[in-house]
Every structure is written in C-alpha cells, then in structure tokens.
Symmetry: C2
Subunit: 349 residues, 2 copies
Amino acid sequence: MRAELPPGLTPAFTALVDGVLAGPGPRQRRAMAKAITLLESTRAEHRAQADAMLTELLPRTGTSFRLGISGVPGVGKSTFIEALGLSLIDQGHRVAVLAIDPSSSVSGGSILGDKTRMERLSMDERAYIRPSPSSGTLGGVAEKTREAMLVCEAAGYDVVIVETVGVGQSETAVAGMTDMYCLLQLPNAGDDLQAIKKGVMELADLVVINKADLDDAAATRAQSQITSSLRLYGMHRRTPHEVAAANWQPRVMRLSALKGQGLAEFWSAVSEFRTLQTHNGALDHKRRQQARAWMWERIQAGLQQQFLSAPAVRQVMDETLAQVLDGRLAASTAARQLLARFSGDNADA
Amino acid sequence: MRAELPPGLTPAFTALVDGVLAGPGPRQRRAMAKAITLLESTRAEHRAQADAMLTELLPRTGTSFRLGISGVPGVGKSTFIEALGLSLIDQGHRVAVLAIDPSSSVSGGSILGDKTRMERLSMDERAYIRPSPSSGTLGGVAEKTREAMLVCEAAGYDVVIVETVGVGQSETAVAGMTDMYCLLQLPNAGDDLQAIKKGVMELADLVVINKADLDDAAATRAQSQITSSLRLYGMHRRTPHEVAAANWQPRVMRLSALKGQGLAEFWSAVSEFRTLQTHNGALDHKRRQQARAWMWERIQAGLQQQFLSAPAVRQVMDETLAQVLDGRLAASTAARQLLARFSGDNADA
C-alpha cells in the first residue's frame, strides 16, 4: 500500500498515519491535531499529502455512528452535547465532536471557538473536540469537517457528533454526512417553527425539545405541534433514500440537558434507529448515496472554480451577466458563449 | 445590429426573423413554427443561427405575462387551459400555450401531443399551441421551451401559458421561467396532497381546485385543508425572492373549467397578482433572478457534459466511483483526482 503513496512523502508522513492509528493517548491526540491541520491546509503539497493520508486511513473508518445535531443559538446545543458526551464516555464510548460553522470565518468562530464551552467534556481524554474550520465556502468547510470525521473514526472514536448552527445550508451539509440527524428545539414551538428554514424539518430523524423543564406545558404543546407537522412533511418524502428509510417515523422527544432528564431515552432512540437501519440496509445505502452525492458536489464546485478562473471567461463574465440581466442576451445563449470560451481557453492553455 | 450576426447567415435567416416580427397572419405562424424548430435542432450550425435569432428577437420580448400551470394527469389541465384561452382571446388577448414534458421522449408525447387536445383553441388563429420538445434531459427540454416562449413573445402573444405534468423536477422548471405559478388540484385533497411532490406546494402562487362541481363539499374541504397547509409552508419561505413576494399570500380557489365556473375570478386574481408585483418591483426582480439562475443552470449542465465526455475522465470514472462507493477512496479525494485529470486533459487537447 505504501508503494502507492505520492513521491516526496517523508518518514514524518508515515509517523503521522501511525500516530493516528496508535491507541488512545497523548501521541494519538497530537497526531490527530496535526492530521486535521494538514487537511485544512490550502497548500497544494499539503493537499497531496492529506489525500494520501485519507486513503491510508480509510480502511479503518466507517464503523462509528455519525450523529448530526443542529439548532438555533440559545437552544442549548453545547449543554446537550456535553451532557450526552459525558454520559457516553461513562458507558465506554469514545466521542468526537466536530462542527460546521460557515459563519466562523466572519465572526472568528461562533461555535466551539470558545474554550470554556463543554469544559468538562473537552478535558476528558476519551473525548476529542475540534472547532469548525474557519475559512471558505460552506462546501469547503463541510469538506474539511467530513475529512476530519474520517481521522476521528480511524483513531477509534466510535461516536462522532457533528454540530451546526442554522447558517446557510449548513443543516443540509450536516444531514448529508451523518447517519442520523437531530434537530434541537425550544419549548415555544409556535415562534420556533418559524425560525426553522424551509426544508430543515424534513431532514430530521429526531426532534428534541430541550429545556423542557422550564415550561412543561409549553414543551408538551410543542411536542404535539411538531409531531403533526412532521407527519405532514412525511407525506411528501419521496426520494429513494426517504422511501428506504420510511421504516423509521421521525420522533419528537422532550428533554432537559441541564438537568440530565431524558438523555437515556434519547440515546435509546438513537440506538434503536441505528439497529433498525443497520439491519434493513438503509444505513449502508445512505452512506453510499452520501459518498456519491459528496463526490459530485465537490466536482461541481471544482468545475465552477475552474470555469470562473479561466481567463477567457473572466474577461467577458461581468459584461455577459449584465446583458443577461438587462434582457439583451438570452440566458441560454450566454451560457453557450461562455462554455465555448471555457473549452477553447482550456484547449489553448 | 445585423453587423453582429455570425458569418454565413443567409437572407433566409433575415426573412425568418422578419416573419416572426410580422403582424398576426399565416406568414407569422409559419415563421414561428420554423423558428421553434430551429431552436430545437441539435446541429451546431443551427444552434449558432438560433442564438443569433434569439438575440435579434430579445428586444421585442418581456412584455407578456408568463403563467405556469401544472397538475397531475386527470386534473383537467387541457380543459382548463382551453377554457381560459378561449375566454382570453375573446377579451382581445393573444395566447400561446407551451409545454415541458420530459417524459415525452419516452412516451412519444404525453401532453399536447394529441391533436384532439384543445381542439377549439388550437384552431383559433389568435392562439398558438406548441407541444413539448420531445428529447433530452429536463434541463434541455426546459431550455427549448424557455426559448420558444421568447419567440411567442416577440410575435406579440401577450399571454404565454407553460404547462407541465408532475414529472421529475418539471414543476420547478416551469415555476422558474414564469411570472406566476398555478397548481391544479382535484377536490379529494387528502389523497391528492400526498400526490404532490415535496416542495411543489411551496412554489404555488395560486392553487385551483378544479372539477369543484363534482363534489362541492369535498372541494370546500380541500380548499380549507390546502389553505392551512399553504400557511404552514408560507412560514418557511425565506429566500430573497420569497421575501420580496411576501406581499402576495398564495390563494386557493374552487373552479369548474368544464362548466366555465370561476374562470373570471381566476383571471381577476392573476391580474391582481400581476399589477401588485409589477408595481412593487417583485416581477422585475423575479425575472432577473430567473435569468441569472437559468444561465448558471445551463453553465453547470454544460460543464458537467464537458467533464463527463473528457477522455481522461471517462477512462477512470467507473473505477473511481466504485472505489468511492466501496469506501476505498474518500469522495473529496476522488473529486480532486478527477478534476486534475479534467484540467490536464483540456490543457493537452
């Protein structure tokens, strides 16, 4: 296998891979941090090493459970993930927490950037917490998180939690790289429903009404409202994955992460989902679909980048778009003209 | 302007453009049919002529109202469009009816292919009816319909109706090229709601419960059910267009196209929508957004085609995808490898 590595890989590279695959301990933690930093580098030679590393690690991945969690700021995501994580490591699991936060390049890191977050979990060596990559498009940020997930899995973390705040299409990105997607909600369902972006509720396998201890009546009302809205959305589920997953009816649970109430029931529902979807093949099917979709998403993004940076395209892009917007040039004619310039430009290069 | 035409354009080309721009009459009808056939041709020299023709016609387009209509088979689309069209031409309008039916390449034309459809409307010279282009992907079929719409507009048809059956993403394509999108429904709303694909209801500016004369109680029930579900969907409307269009609350109307009941109310709602959206700028905004989105959609499709037909990509595509699906290669690594082959291949060409 090592024979297939690109030329120029040093003993340091081998040490890095071996470090990630080493058992739990300081050496592994250092190697993981280094490996993820390598993945996040934009330098071409780092990228080549990172790809070689991923290919080496890949056979050791895929046996973890990947849990996606999102919710608006204030819903209590950190408290929930810390309480869940602490309870899982107590049961013998190793838990990694990653994040996708496309806003962090602007804000300097709005999730997981704060070191006081998840203080107890982050200090436990059975947990590994990594903030969101902080630059680039959502696609780029999601790519690095997806790859970091593979590093964590190869290192033996058997539960990987990927969290996001509702920014851009980050919920879709998280649902597209995890086995199960959970949406955290506040008890005031009426207002809160409005805060959910179009299509996000349909992604949820499980909805958790957190802070249920604050107002039990409101939480129960929210539970019933969200349950009926999920049933309505459920009727429109029509993609092959959704049909395959139809054995699972999305659930709504009440919980208080702060008081530790409902966490056991939550994990029991997650385990039930995992067992069911493993046995009916839906999990494997979903992961293959995700890998295929992800490859195409990255190809599309790459093609667009090649297109937009081609000199022959850049030269006329602004003027062409202006003509299209003003109704002087048909959109399809413009597309054909630009595509001809792109392929001509490439041929001349 | 003629100076910008590609070389090789004949007097026949000029006659074609002039024919489309001529007033109503047999000459115009023949020119329109010829122009649309030219648009549908896949030969490269025809495509160049078609693009030149579109650029010539474009200044004469944009003043029509573009109405999208869809509904499942059996909902009564033909009867509805014929009744509406006849009533509109009686009021002095000129009405064009186009279609997007990506299934027609398989079935040999499931909508508008039947010559007995809309018999009265199709025989009236104030109407122009054209079946769906019958080959290619949805994107390709939609492109040709979109271009045919421009020919009809340049020819002075001031109402253009684009219809589709719910196949693939054709509803989205129709909503993406029209000013107002109407969804036809049957009175049995409970069952019918289930037949609507995810996301389609959210596109509707107006929902028409047709065949309301068959069961008035059911139609009224359907009206109230769909109204509340639209309200729920409405809460999730969040894109800029949707916010801009928020002055319009989607409506649900009962109607019987067969008995001619409710058609006047329907057109009155359409006119109200048009006046409102013209004055608040939403219509212009929507058309610019549609043009931009359409250009990018076609560029993406063209890039994908160039990518998939590049020899260096084709050579390894199957094996690479197999490795990704089997978990032997990370999806992002595969994408980068394929993209490198693509740009290398283009550079060598």
